[in-house]
Symmetry: C2
Subunit: 368 residues, 2 copies
């Protein structure tokens, strides 16, 4: 392993491999075309106007975000079809009204109470009703079919509402591991969604739009029956959690954190890097087989001339984080070669949170 | 419980109770005076020039930080005695040189290798040698007394080095609970530090400066034998972790996150707020007795006219976080009263990471 010689990297720095990210973007676009669904990537993963352009170049015109702040950011950057894929916050009425005046805005609700806010809008919007098909975070329980039908038809009567739809995020796919487990979540979710749809009364029924999406199912499954639009986000970068689920290969991971070694402890098979909870986030991966039973916040990748390549370095992972320090388990031979100030390139457990924590990043060409 | 009527809070917002924060600042200043030690607060907790001024008004002139970026920020704001309390990163030589030209800069090292970087400085610095007295993160093991003595005397010979000292962060106090456990960590650490000091050869021995500090011991202990300077940070805000350790009372917690309710689930005793991992961070508190065996990312506080008061609401805590969503366990009676868009005021498990994630905050007067 030779160490990255980029002398202009002084502290912890996010690296984005453009080749891999663009390949991930194009691959998902191709899949959507083949499956006959629209692709609405979730931009919370990168929150970057510049990376947003890579999606546009690949044919994306509709996006999802999870805060009004992100919607404002991308509306300012010229995006004209934006979905707020998080339940409506009534306190943001004024900002939402302004957004809806500037672009085609889709809001998410999950109760009749939220219609009080919709009634106060002076602009038109599309309205998604979030369905919980087993994940247990947000959405109306899929078994409440009468409630969902009534809400869809109530919503459709509001003069502010152009179109009504159903929104699903099957986040329970993050608990899966391997294609058959992902497939099981996928089929169960879509079957439940179909059942909900079948019970929606007219006039909402015949004009209902269905949006579903999470990175594991969108990455591994090929068809999306009953769905008009898929909405994955993390696939632009992927990360250790996605690799563990089986949603991607090592070569698909397009985001890492370059961080300098600031202390060496050969006697305990450890180095400490300047990269802590404020850089990697405290999200971790637990695995029965890997990481000696410890939480893993990131894995050390093998550095190549243009970035990183192949699988992670065996036995080299971040097992402890404080605010600015990261404790990295390393094999003795590697510690022997490592000097103070050397850079380690670490693939984070969860790339969305690393990107959100760091805001800033460096684009590298990557290896073809 | 009446809900906060501040209509200008639309999304997740950090609230800083000025009365409590200033009381925390003054109390620690008083303790340092009574104990006959200098106080060098660690500014990584707030990273705010404005809150920095509250410390200055209370008599602080020396500060610690944990990144060159923070050192630059506070140097620009007029601070002239800054310690980088993290092992030296050789890649930042140029920025360090510049800082050392503008203020009295203290660096931290923990190996002879780091002296190669010190030799390349064109400005003078103070140099702390970090000692590990049992925490196991960074620092030279306290039992390596010969190594430490040699390093101190080697360092002192460099023309760039004004003064040499020992630096301790007894972060193992974060595993303690209650005064006697905190006292045990405190006494053991200082005893080990004294032993290290006693074995340092002249000329370093007689001019050695000793800096120690972590919020639990500095908050609960009254004397700091053998120590010239204490270096706590988190005490300006405190948080659930500190309360759990016994380092503070509920009334000392000076930072919360106000966040809107965006979904209600009476059937599962839960609401969802717009406040996720990018706001609260994924740091949590585990407790055998509290939180039904779940991780707790934050607790819901009782809202008062000028902020929040008293103890947290019984049985109301954040037990799950995704990027922008927080799942809050709540008693049925409270959910009954809670409407979409109501604000919850949540004390985070770890206030430093919440502040680092949010950057921005709102100062409230607080209740006297």
């Amino acid at each position: 392993m030779t160490h990255l010689q980029w002398q202009h990297i002084t502290g912890p720095r996010v690296l984005v491999d453009r080749f891999r990210a663009q390949r991930n973007i194009q691959r998902m676009q191709q899949k959507a075309i083949q499956a006959g669904v629209q692709l609405r990537p979730h931009f919370k993963t990168h929150q970057s106007v510049e990376i947003g352009r890579w999606f546009r170049e690949a044919g994306t015109h509709a996006i999802a975000v999870s805060s009004v702040r992100m919607a404002q950011q991308f509306e300012s950057a010229g995006w004209r079809d934006i979905m707020l894929a998080i339940p409506l916050n009534p306190r943001e009425l004024s900002a939402i009204n302004q957004l809806a005046g500037n672009c085609s805005l889709t809001l998410t609700i999950e109760s009749a109470d939220a219609l009080d806010t919709i009634r106060r809008l002076s602009q038109d919007v599309n309205l998604m009703i979030e369905i919980d098909a087993g994940y247990g975070r947000t959405g109306i329980d899929w078994q409440q079919q009468r409630l969902i039908s009534d809400l869809a038809n109530q919503a459709l009567q509001l003069p502010q509402v152009r179109q009504v739809g159903l929104l699903l995020h099957a986040g329970n796919s993050y608990q899966a591991s391997g294609d058959s487990a992902i497939q099981q979540v996928h089929e169960e979710s879509l079957q439940r969604l179909a059942e909900v749809k079948a019970h929606i009364a007219e006039p909402a029924q015949s004009q209902l739009f269905v949006s579903a999406g999470d990175t594991p199912t969108c990455s591994r499954m090929q068809s999306f029956p009953g769905v008009d639009e898929i909405r994955p986000g993390n696939y632009v970068f992927y990360d250790l959690q996605q690799q563990h689920i089986g949603a991607c290969d090592w070569d698909d991971i397009a985001l890492t954190l370059a961080c300098p070694v600031i202390a060496r402890y050969p006697e305990r098979n450890e180095v400490v890097v300047h990269a802590g909870a404020v850089h990697l986030s405290k999200d971790y991966l637990l695995s029965k087989d890997r990481y000696e039973g410890r939480p893993c916040y990131g894995q050390v990748m093998q550095i190549s001339e243009h970035g990183w390549h192949g699988k992670p370095v065996d036995g080299a992972f971040v097992h402890g984080l404080s605010q600015e320090h990261g404790k990295v388990r390393m094999p003795p031979a590697l510690i022997e070669q490592t000097r103070l100030g050397d850079l380690l390139v670490i693939a984070p457990a969860h790339s969305c949170l690393t990107m959100a924590a760091m805001h800033d990043f460096m684009i590298i060409q990557g290896t073809r």
